[in-house]
């Protein structure tokens, strides 16, 4: 994208005021988004965005300037702005740039232009019809198709030069069912880091019928009971639990500041011995995967918790330098307009050995969460919360009435110690996860079916008379 000689000059300019490391991050992003709403294809957007950010490290200080003009003059000006913001006493030299390659293969079998825009639009129309035809109660449908190509080039004064090419396809469906005064909505998407082969591998109409079926079922839902009770969470997207309950607290910026409950706990038992959890950016096809992270560090698979023992946190370059160790390749940024920070990639709890149906059969009373909207974490307290969009009561080992408005809340470190059943049905989510931490990042979550013996469930109904646990 930028000739290595020019990159070298820009890096030298960025180091002029005595910084110890300088970096150029170049990004070229193109996207197409088609939105069908109310039966009409009406939001059709094509985007092109590109630019570069210059980062300079002065000890623990990082300065940054970005530009959307990739000319040599403009890059040099950004380098001067970033350099002028601080003074260092280093005399670091720019080492010759050598391109590093990744062994990871993320093949694109069917490029984005293999289908015309019109063909993509027709696909959305079919999905809309599938949901509406499913049931008379379906009163509204939205379908969004996104394709994004994000190419990045990273150069730094230690001689690093890497490229990455990230291609995402995603399809998000949402349906609303109405009966008299009651509205219910269910939304779920699927997506991957891939080409259009994703659309061939998926029955998109069945996906919409499934959502319609959920929304119609939820019309009969009664208010969720409130209080402490047992919760069984589905596999796949249920992994939002680990993401919110523990994942954020294992991001290195909260560790180095000492504001996470997991700070200083490496080697200690922090979860039930049946839990092993990983963050793995190397999995082909997943949304959180890459060849190199946004610091230019090669993607890796990091064991976070092994048999309940804390093994490591998720590090980016800034926090790793601060702690005098290696990054785990978790530095991610939303775009060239942002500085990287430690983020999760594809994060999941590994398989256990229980059959998922046995976990439910073995539960006397509780809530089974089948679908949920997003969640949130309170890093300092270690609390998490997420909201179910499709949930059922479990009574005497059987799923009975659907319940609405269920919020599940707990303390992450405590709940992880208490997990008492893990299924053998590990799945990653269908590919729709977006994580917000000041910046937005695509992530995957995953888990087998798991059981939390005692968490807080927030609803509006009276708690059931004292029936608790297994």
């Amino acid at each position: 994208m930028i000739a290595p000689e020019i990159a070298k000059q820009v890096l030298a300019e960025a180091l002029r005021t005595g910084g110890d490391l300088a970096e150029i991050y170049v990004e070229d992003r193109t996207s197409l988004s088609l939105g069908l709403d109310d039966g009409r294809l009406e939001n059709a957007v094509r985007g092109a965005d590109r630019g570069a950010g210059i980062r300079v490290f002065f000890g623990n200080l990082v300065t940054y300037a970005y530009t959307d003009d990739l000319s040599e003059a403009s890059l040099l000006e950004a380098a001067r702005v970033a350099a002028a913001a601080a003074k260092g006493n280093n005399s670091a030299q720019v080492i010759d740039l050598t391109q590093r390659k990744s062994p990871l293969e993320f093949p694109i079998l069917k490029p984005f232009d293999a289908l015309s825009i019109r063909e993509k639009a027709e696909l959305l129309q079919k999905m809309d019809a599938a949901a509406r035809d499913y049931h008379d109660a379906i009163v509204q449908v939205t379908v969004t198709y996104n394709e994004v190509q994000r190419r990045v080039w990273i150069y730094n004064s230690d001689g690093l030069y890497v490229e990455d090419d990230r291609n995402f396809v995603e399809v998000l469906g949402g349906v609303i069912a109405q009966r008299d005064d009651v509205l219910q909505r269910v939304g779920e998407g699927f997506g991957a880091q891939s080409g259009l082969e994703l659309l061939d591998s998926k029955d998109v109409e069945a996906h919409m019928r499934d959502l319609a079926d959920s929304a119609v079922r939820m019309l009969d839902a009664r208010p969720c009971p409130a209080g402490e009770m047992t919760v069984v969470m589905c596999n796949g997207w249920g992994g939002v639990l680990f993401h919110e309950a523990c994942g954020h607290q294992m991001e290195a910026d909260f560790i180095t500041k000492g504001t996470s409950a997991y700070a200083g706990k490496v080697g200690q038992q922090v979860a039930s011995p049946i839990i092993t959890a990983l963050d793995d950016a190397t999995i082909p096809g997943r949304r959180g995967s890459f060849r190199f992270d946004d610091d230019g560090v090669a993607a890796q698979r990091t064991v976070l918790i092994e048999n309940g023992v804390l093994v490591d946190y998720m590090w980016d370059l800034v926090e790793a330098r601060r702690a005098g160790r290696e990054s785990t390749g978790n530095g991610r940024r939303q775009s060239f307009r942002h500085l990287p920070m430690p983020r999760m990639t594809n994060t999941f709890i590994d398989n256990g050995d229980a059959a998922p149906e046995d976990i439910i059969a073995d539960t006397k009373y509780g809530i089974y969460i089948k679908r949920m909207a997003g969640g949130q974490a309170d890093i300092a307290r270690g609390d998490f919360v997420f909201n179910a969009t499709e949930a059922y009561l479990i009574e005497n080992g059987k799923l009975t009435a659907p319940v609405r408005g269920a919020t599940v809340m707990g303390n992450g470190p405590k709940v992880l110690m208490e997990v008492d059943a893990i299924g053998n049905d590990l799945a990653l989510d269908p590919g729709q996860g977006m994580c917000g931490k000041g910046q937005v990042a695509r992530v995957s979550v995953g888990q087998p079916t798991i059981r939390l013996p005692k968490v807080m469930v927030g609803g509006t109904d009276e708690p059931a008379g004292g029936v608790m646990a297994v």
């Binding site: 094509r46 965005d49 200080l61 300037a65 409130a226 307009r337 949130q376």
Partner: protein
């Protein structure tokens, strides 16, 4: 006339051949962000950027394309992409650009030249003051996180093929941090302090720092109370998060597309008579204020709920044409990358008479809610409203101890009806849109605990 406005007009001219409706939106931004830890700047980012978005409508079919590269070649590629996309869209008889209307000539007080004149050092010193105020407040405060100062200037240039031409600039600055406190048992809590304004002079660093410290200390050591139905008093920052979801249920689009728990309720009493809700795109000094909206329509004030009665919704030009109404000027843009989208401008509840202290004094038994986790928990479609909460327990009008790890649940419909007191302390929060709410007392809320 600026060169950006010239460029916008040139693109309109080039793209609007063969009777197409064309609208060009260019934004130019300058931004500064400073992040600090213990008096040391950790991250300092400063930059300028620009970009263009082109909307094309022909025969009721709409396409949009944007680019950050304003070279001649890229601009032509962009408007041609918008034309191509408009060809595959579904025709809709109500889809057209608005005709130009006169823009009232008044100073909305949204631009502060001082912000650009101040040095980066002045702004770093401001943030240092915020952080010091928090850290020195009490020894139990062990750290701050996400400690930031940010400011920026955005200039907007717009032209369309119906003859609209307009430009304006606005500034904004603010500071944000979480205070983290640790109790004797090692348990930690955090809560935010926050301030933002269009003008530098309106920012008070000590107030921001103190707010974070006070809120955090008040919830330190909180544990769940038994599950029960009780009153809650909502801090303004909590109320704003609920109102943000409520606002999405009060748009013409939510009505026309059956995405609102208030569907078919226009003209009916939907809230306590203490509730009056306004959207005002011309609020002086408001973060959501602008002379015209994202499609060139003059902004205006709309009374949505008047003393409990649901009177109006907000409109953009599309939903207005469909309903046979006038646009309220609520087409919002989130920069050049986004299509205009119907959303509130400055959305707020009219303040009442009581101070926060008076409201708390009147509560026999309930929770003063200081922070919530509500992502995905408030649904403007179903009206479901449940979230995690931290706060302070009130008995007989007095604070008796911190509460943490509970859920609070109601529905948006019940919440509106159960508002029994409205404070006199309206504060705008430009985080979730520009939303403002005074301290509120809501009765009959389910608190989920032990």
């Amino acid at each position: 006339m600026s060169e950006y406005l010239d460029l916008a007009k040139r693109v309109v001219e080039a793209a609007s051949a063969s009777g197409r409706d064309v609208e060009v939106y260019i934004s130019r931004d300058r931004e500064l962000t400073v992040q600090m830890s213990r008096g040391q700047v950790e991250k300092l980012s400063q930059s300028g950027s620009h970009g263009m978005g082109v909307r094309v409508i022909q025969d009721g079919k709409m396409g949009y394309a944007y680019t950050a590269d304003l070279s001649e070649e890229s601009v032509e590629r962009t408007w041609r992409a918008a034309v191509e996309l408009s060809e595959v869209a579904t025709p809709d008889e109500y889809r057209a650009l608005p005709d130009p209307e006169p823009i009232p000539d008044e100073d909305l007080q949204i631009y502060d030249p001082q912000l650009e004149a101040l040095s980066v050092e002045d702004k770093i010193a401001f943030l240092k003051k915020v952080e010091e105020t928090t850290l020195n407040y009490d020894p139990r405060i062990i750290a701050t996180t996400f400690t930031q100062y940010f400011d920026g200037t955005t200039s907007v240039y717009m032209a369309n093929s119906r003859g609209f031409v307009g430009e304006y600039s606005r500034t904004g600055a603010g500071s944000f941090l979480f205070a983290v406190a640790r109790g004797e048992d090692g348990g930690m809590v955090n809560a935010p302090g926050f301030g933002a304004a269009t003008h530098w002079q309106k920012l008070d660093p000590e107030m921001i720092g103190r707010e974070a410290a006070e809120k955090t200390l008040s919830i330190l050591g909180g544990s769940p109370v038994p599950t029960q139905t009780a009153s809650v008093v909502l801090d303004y920052f909590v109320g704003a998060q609920i109102l943000a979801a409520l606002a999405m249920a009060m748009t013409a689009e939510a009505m026309q597309r059956k995405r609102s728990f208030l569907l078919d309720k226009l003209g009916q009493t939907v809230a306590s008579d203490m509730v009056t809700l306004m959207d005002n795109g011309r609020l002086p000094g408001g973060f959501g204020s602008a002379p015209f909206d994202g499609e060139g329509v003059p902004t205006s004030a709309t009374r949505l709920i008047d003393e409990g009665v649901f009177q109006n919704v907000i409109y953009d030009s599309y939903t207005a044409r469909k309903a046979g109404k006038r646009s309220t000027g609520n087409a919002q843009r989130n920069g050049h990358q986004s299509l205009p989208r119907l959303a509130p401008s400055n959305f707020y509840m009219q303040p009442g008479q009581l101070s926060r202290q008076d409201i708390i004094k009147g509560v026999e038994k309930g929770l003063f809610v200081i922070s919530v986790m509500q992502t995905g928990g408030i649904d403007p479609v179903t009206g479901d409203c449940s979230m995690g909460a931290n706060g302070v327990w009130i008995e007989n009008g007095e604070f008796v101890g911190p509460v943490g790890g509970v859920t609070i649940a109601t529905t948006l419909g019940d919440l509106l009806k159960n508002i029994t007191q409205v404070g006199n302390d309206l504060r705008m929060v430009p985080v979730f849109g520009n939303i403002g709410v005074p301290t509120l007392r809501v009765d009959n809320v389910t608190i989920g605990g032990t």
